[in-house]
């Protein structure tokens, strides 16, 4: 049963015919167990923070245990309300939605230019984008924040949205996808006198749904987790109705400077990992496939 399936194995070192020897059977079982252990290690911190969030501070600091004594949801609700997490969630949602739109529209357009239209001299732009793939944006965070300040864009979501429109990694994902669209389609459209825009809307867009999905999902999880620029830009920013503009991550970051009890930090961390976890569960296939394919070519 367990070993039967090895007969149809298409890739990897252990071949279907190897599995007949008992030694290989043992190896196969050991590999299986190691893989299960790896997945446990990968999931454990998330499971633990869920369990630990049910402890109160006394239990957390005194009891030598992983499991909480009781699962009381009211404790969770208490922290949620005490920190006004609804507001932070709302702000994060605004941040994420704008970032997603910018990521798809702007990077998609640039990739359309670089991968399909290829106007004269596009190689220069391509080279610059390739280099920016390797220089982490965090390096120039100080002058960037200074520029944002000088333009009067601090304390608003605008720079936080548009920064996602300039992401070399997303451009490369789009470009690789566009280049795999058969040339005949675009050439035929060109001969029919199809303009640059019409070609984009009626040929590229309908074919690009999978890659749009992948970039959108990546942008959503990245924007949700993003915090250094949001922290610098949104610090003490207020909506007109005097509620804070800070996002969930900015709140989490602020625990660094304000002494907070361990259990509250853990509950806040738990609240912060819920949305990406749900997205991951729904789109796991798109995410893992995108992650594997996007970087195969480097």
């Amino acid at each position: 049963m367990f070993f039967e399936k090895y007969k149809d194995k298409k890739d990897g070192v252990i071949r279907g015919y190897d599995i007949r020897s008992p030694k290989t059977k043992v190896i196969a079982v050991i590999i299986m167990l190691i893989c299960i252990l790896m997945v446990c290690i990968c999931l454990f911190p998330a499971v633990w923070v869920f369990l630990a969030s049910f402890k109160d501070i006394k239990e957390f600091t005194r009891e030598v245990s992983i499991l909480p004594e009781a699962f009381e949801w009211s404790r969770m609700a208490e922290t949620w309300n005490a920190f006004k997490f609804t507001t932070y969630y709302k702000n994060s949602l605004i941040h994420v939605a704008g970032a997603m739109i910018c990521a798809v529209v702007f990077n998609g357009l640039l990739a359309y230019g670089l991968g399909v239209l290829k106007p004269k001299g596009h190689k220069i732009a391509l080279g610059l984008v390739m280099w920016s793939l390797l220089i982490p944006s965090i390096i120039s965070i100080v002058p960037l924040f200074r520029n944002i300040n000088n333009l009067g864009l601090s304390k608003s979501f605008i720079p936080l949205w548009f920064v996602y429109g300039a992401n070399a990694f997303y451009v490369m994902l789009f470009k690789q996808f566009f280049e795999e669209i058969p040339k005949e389609l675009t050439e035929a459209a060109k001969l029919d006198g199809c303009g640059v825009w019409r070609m984009f809307v009626s040929i590229m867009l309908p074919l690009s749904k999978p890659i749009i999905m992948v970039v959108a999902i990546f942008a959503v999880t990245a924007a949700w987790s993003d915090f250094l620029l949001p922290y610098l830009v949104l610090q003490q920013a207020k909506w007109p109705d005097n509620t804070t503009m800070e996002t969930v991550m900015v709140k989490l970051f602020s625990f660094k400077d304000t002494p907070t009890d361990a259990v509250s930090v853990l509950r806040a961390s738990f609240f912060a990992i819920i949305p990406p976890t749900i997205i991951f569960i729904i789109f796991q296939k798109q995410i893992t496939d995108g992650a594997a394919s996007g970087a195969v070519k480097g």
Binding site: K5, G12, M32, I36, I138, P143, L252
Partner: protein, 298 residues
């Protein structure tokens, strides 16, 4: 003759359209990525007060950075970070990729499971890990060690352990996505190679050594350089775990830049440091580009 001219003009119009499509995104890249990098260089040669430029400083900022005891600590730590990240961060994904490729049952579950840490917001995971590493018998790792009868450890408080432990948390987060890339490459290896090797009497270990490993060397080189580049981005882990301590044992170059910029409000000094880091990264990126270009030619 006339027809050729018309064609040429049309061609120009297409070029113009192509650049127009790319322009909005290129402006975003210029504002968020390229201009700040250049601005960094300019600011590093100036004297500043808060965000205002007050005069020309020559090389004074660079001299101040290099003579800073914190810089020497951070510079030395970078080597330690690189060393551990090559031992742990580079090898673990390769082993994971090879092992998961050998499973037949539950393969997609393993893929998804090991990728999961990647979508968790890094800030939340850093908080969670900081409680894992609590010294004393209520720390999570000490509870687990206790099951095996091992004494509680001090974890991050031991300066010799701080950097390796930080690398472990980083590897926990990123290894899954790198493993997926290796898996994509491993599944592309032709089964004929393994079959021919088996006929020649190669054992499973020999097949891994002489077929699997050579086939992934190309991508492994790329990943190696990516791994080294990522070391220069380490910021939040040392900052939140121990604020660079104990006693500067884990301070990183990026963390020092953050301190210059947002604790001391010395923009010029922060810029000088980031120019130094940028230069190192540009050299590393150059090596990376060469490695990838070679791989694509093959």
């Amino acid at each position: 003759m006339k027809a050729a001219k018309v064609k040429k003009e049309k061609f120009r119009k297409r070029d113009l359209m192509g650049w127009l499509v790319m322009l909005p995104t290129l402006i975003l890249f210029a504002f968020f990525v390229w201009e700040p990098l250049i601005e960094n260089i300019r600011l590093s040669f100036c004297t500043t007060k808060m965000y205002e430029v007050t005069g020309f400083a020559g090389l004074k900022n660079y001299i101040a950075v290099v003579n800073d005891v914190d810089f020497m600590a951070a510079f030395k730590n970078t080597f330690a970070y690189t060393f551990w990240s090559l031992i742990i961060g580079f090898l673990v994904p390769i082993i994971m990729g090879i092992l998961i490729s050998e499973t037949v049952r539950g393969k997609s579950l393993f893929r998804v499971g090991v990728y999961f840490p990647n979508i968790m917001p890094s800030l939340a995971t850093i908080w969670i890990w900081s409680y894992f590493f609590l010294p004393g018998e209520t720390g999570v790792l000490n509870i687990i060690l206790g099951w095996f009868g091992i004494e509680p450890q001090v974890w991050l408080n031991n300066p010799k352990w701080t950097i390796p432990l930080i690398i472990i948390t980083l590897t926990w987060k990123s290894a899954g996505s790198t493993a997926l890339i290796y898996m994509a490459n491993i599944s592309g290896i032709s089964p004929d190679l393994y079959e021919a090797a088996t006929i020649d009497g190669a054992s499973i270990m020999q097949r891994i050594r002489h077929i699997t490993i050579p086939s992934i060397t190309g991508i492994a080189k790329t990943m190696l350089i990516m791994q080294i580049i990522s070391v220069f981005q380490i910021l939040y882990e040392p900052m939140i775990f121990k604020n660079g301590g104990p006693n500067n044992a884990s301070i990183s170059l990026m963390m020092l830049m953050y301190r210059y910029g947002y604790r001391d409000y010395n923009v010029a000094k922060a810029s000088a440091l980031s120019v130094i880091v940028s230069l190192i990264l540009i050299v590393l990126s150059g090596i990376y580009m060469k490695a990838t270009a070679k791989r694509n030619d093959e």
